[in-house]
Amino acid sequence: MAMSVEPSPDTSATRSAARGALMLGLFAALGATLVGTTYQLTRERIADNQARRLQQTLHEILPPGAHDNPLHEDIVSVSDAALGSADGQSLIYRARKNGSPVAAILEVTAPDGYSGAIRMLVGIYTSGELAGVRVLEHRETPGLGDGIERARSDWIEGFSGKSLDNPTPDAWAVKRDGGAFDQFTGATITPRAVVTAVRNALIYFRGHQAEIFAPRASQS
């Protein structure tokens, strides 16, 4: 230090910046370690949760006794505008008993809800009869449009047992539009969107049943 030359302001600024960067890098490394460790610790549990939840929802639509294959593993992915998904991909879960098709549960999106898309699962037996419908995700108005949720009302149960012959295709609409399905007080748009999406799913299923159950690219 005794014979030191005054450091030029440039080098001291550089050194200070380098020290700051080093400190920040250290904090980033610590943060990354924390997140990485937590991720490792929780990963399996999170995957478990998601699988269990999916299975629960699938079994609400189709009782476990109705099939003998693992529903959440026997999946095909299709893209068809009739199913309405934004990215063009919809999953179909296939239920079989003793190897022969029983029903399919289709991921369907109604793009025209009151506030955005409504994602749901539509279960259809091979006979074309509905096993059940459940809403997965929506942003409809609380207290008005959210009656489509099973937790809020049993409206959605009304689909079970219906098919394209019952009621006839032109009655697949809410009562306000001359159809057979109830709307909610103060909310017509939401049920209209759901009814239309379910009808489209039924039509799609009728036209593509053989394709859906064809054993392509899946674990079964």
Binding site: R19, M23, R53, L144
Partner: protein, 234 residues
């Protein structure tokens, strides 16, 4: 490093009442208004925020000697973001249903200015113990506002209290739910976004009224030696 009882008390009064993040600093209003449509939602987000706030205050206080002024803000952001991500993963693993209900508002804790505000204004200049206590009290103050507002809106709008408690306390929680009237008869406004603004406004008004009354009582007895009235005024 040691804290006397008086400064403990002062930190508690600051966080819970005088400088409450939700009612006085008005920080973190986005999650505060958005998730408070039920007690359980408010409690869930409140606990997550409390955890992050205490953790970030602790970390910032520990690191305060190395946090030079020019890098402190990015360092705060790094610390807070890592903590929030860890809390988010943990909630996804152990409170999966609640995690699904709260959705985007858990990662959004990162943007809660109350947290970076406490790091900057308090934890970066204080020893570890007061910093932890400050985080706990500020977090608790925020949590209480979330829970009270959630309770008000849930009773008025849904006719229930603690609905969805099973998401937090497991199956046993389902027994905690109180139902006062049918949810269809509720005041819809209360659970919609305007209800959040009106409810928070009423809470703040009530707090100001209490403070005002205390101040005028203290003014009437100017030489009162009472400690309790003395803390009410700034």
């Amino acid at each position: 490093m040691s804290l006397d009882a008086g400064s403990y008390r002062r930190l508690a009064v600051e966080g819970l009442w005088r400088n409450n993040p939700g009612m006085v600093q008005l920080l973190g209003l986005c999650p505060l208004l958005a998730v408070t449509n039920s007690v359980v939602n408010g409690l869930g987000l409140g606990l997550a925020t409390l955890l992050v706030l205490t953790g970030s205050n602790l970390t910032v206080s520990l690191a305060r000697r190395w946090l030079r002024p020019e890098i402190r803000i990015p360092a705060f952001v790094l610390i807070i973001a890592s903590l929030v991500t860890a809390v988010e993963l943990a909630m996804n693993a152990w409170f999966h249903e609640l995690y699904r209900v709260l959705g985007i508002f858990i990662p959004l804790i990162v943007t809660n200015c109350a947290i970076i505000g406490r790091a900057e204004a308090f934890a970066s200049r204080q020893p570890v113990l007061p910093a932890i206590l400050d985080g706990l009290m500020m977090g608790l103050g925020f949590l209480l506002v979330l829970v009270i507002l959630g309770g008000l809106r849930e009773i008025l709008g849904n006719g229930s209290l603690l609905a969805g408690a099973d998401m937090m306390f497991g199956e046993a929680g389902a027994g905690l739910v109180l139902r006062f009237f049918d949810s269809n008869k509720g005041l819809l406004l209360a659970v919609l976004p305007p209800g959040a603004f009106i409810g928070l406004g009423l809470l703040i008004a009530a707090k100001n009224a209490i403070d005002g009354r205390r101040a005028s009582q203290a003014a009437q007895q100017p030489h009162s030696p009472s400690l309790a009235t003395g803390t009410g005024q700034a």
